[in-house]
């Protein structure tokens, strides 16, 4: 048996009819980004190549057309046709399949999936928090599933969830009950939007910065409180440098967080107090 493990590529499912939403789900926006782009960018952070699965009549639709596409091999099929079309296009790859209408899927969800993957099974999937069955549309499908899918479809079946239930699949417990909730109706969309907007402040943190010596003079202040998206002191210095045009490059500085010397790559948390330390001259 070959010891080569198939590479994982991403497949964002965006071929749905959006019947209950009464508008194209791929174009629904959360926090200023449509959910197709959001899902695409999310997947790109975890696997080397990502494609968007579309129906043949969607290839010129602008939201989809800007991404690499895999077009359904037959018309009128559900998600299982999208998955099978991806296996036909690149039989050597495993597919991280992700529906575009799962606004609560995070980096942590995909990271856990990729790390926990078992290439010896047909798939690796989360257990649904609602019905306890494997969730097929946020899962890794292995190349070995391709042939099984074909005979499954030949037998007249088309439900990917039932496919996973009837085959050897590694099941992961969900990290968060809501993580795989999908959004099908305008009411669900409104709810999801509110809940994501409410969670938004966690993206930006309140950080206190103190300035000394040359940096104090160039910033024109000795301290300030910032709401910042910077994750590390290095990001924060870059952000402040673009505002104040400090004459000192970061390489000449040290940094302290909460009154202790720190690495530049340390993860900041809300309420941290940061001091950038220019070259010293005591004594």
């Amino acid at each position: 048996m070959s010891s080569e493990v198939a590479p994982i590529y991403g497949l964002i499912l965006a071929g749905g009819a959006s019947a209950r939403m009464h508008r194209d789900k791929a174009a629904l926006a959360y926090l200023g980004k449509n959910q197709l782009d959001r899902a695409y960018e999310l997947a790109c952070r975890h696997v080397p190549r990502v494609f968007v699965s579309v129906r043949a009549d969607q290839v010129n639709e602008p939201t989809r057309a800007q991404h690499p596409l895999i077009v359904d091999s037959i018309a009128g099929g559900g998600p299982i046709v999208g998955i099978r079309s991806a296996f036909s296009a690149m039989p050597q790859a495993a597919w991280l399949v992700l529906a575009c209408d799962l606004p609560f899927v995070t980096d942590a969800v995909l990271d856990h999936l990729v790390i926990s993957r078992d290439p010896a099974q047909a798939a690796t999937a989360y257990r649904s928090a609602h019905d306890g069955l494997p969730e097929p549309l946020c899962a890794i499908w292995e190349p070995a599933a391709a042939a099984l899918l074909e005979s499954y479809e030949a037998g007249g079946h088309s439900c990917p969830r039932k496919f996973l239930t009837n085959h050897r699949v590694k099941i992961l417990e969900p990290l968060d009950k809501r993580a795989l909730d999908n959004v099908n109706t305008p009411a669900e969309y409104t709810q999801a939007l509110e809940s994501l907007e409410a969670a938004r402040p966690t993206d930006r943190m309140r950080i206190k910065v103190h300035y000394y010596a040359l940096l104090r003079e160039q910033a024109g202040r000795s301290e300030e409180i910032l709401d910042t998206a910077a994750a590390t002191p290095a990001d924060l210095y870059a952000e402040l440098n673009s505002r104040y045009r400090f004459s000192l490059p970061r390489e000449q500085l040290k940094v302290a967080v909460n009154t202790e010397f720190s690495e530049w790559s340390r993860m900041l948390t809300a309420g941290d107090s940061v001091v950038f330390i220019p070259p010293v001259a005591g004594g």
Binding site: Q252, A256, E260, P278, G282
Partner: protein
């Protein structure tokens, strides 16, 4: 005992020395750093010292503790000025008492060298021509740096 303190006004080194007295100490060494009237060819009229005091005190305490662990000295203390200083003012003082002079000299040297390199303290020089500048921060941005030699080369009092 506190091993490191800032003073924002002139302090009495003679009084600080009394904190180091010990019946088992046979020697005492000290270092005083004074404000010099020139640096790198420029005539200096006065200085400003500024410090990130909370971290500098922590790091200063660590340096003196290191000196106490490195060699068998009795006591050690370092005092540093912040604020405006004139030429001739006392900027920094280090005192060490020990059973023998060798340890006292070595520890004193260790403390002042580490204080210069590690403590978040900055010095702004004001020159006769009216200009001013933060030592080690200006005029050499982008130049390759070697912390130890560089700081010593620009020292105000060695």
């Amino acid at each position: 005992m506190m091993f490191f303190r800032f003073h924002d006004t002139p302090f009495d080194a003679g009084a600080a020395r009394l904190e180091l007295l010990d019946a088992s100490a046979g020697g005492y060494a000290s270092f005083e750093g004074w404000v010099r009237d020139h640096n790198e060819g420029l005539a200096v009229t006065r200085l400003e010292y500024e410090a990130f005091e909370d971290l500098a005190v922590k790091e200063g305490e660590r340096i003196v503790r290191e000196a106490l662990q490195r060699s068998p000295i009795k006591h050690a203390l370092c005092l540093h000025r912040v604020g405006e200083l004139a030429v001739g003012d006392l900027a920094v003082w280090v005192g060490v008492s020990a059973a023998h002079r060798g340890e006292a000299f070595d520890a004193c040297r260790y403390i002042i060298d580490e204080v210069k390199h590690r403590l978040p303290i900055w010095k702004k020089e004001h020159y006769v021509d009216g200009n001013s500048g933060w030592v080690n921060c200006e005029g050499c941005a982008g130049a390759p740096r070697h912390a130890a030699t560089h700081v010593h080369a620009r020292d105000t009092h060695e």
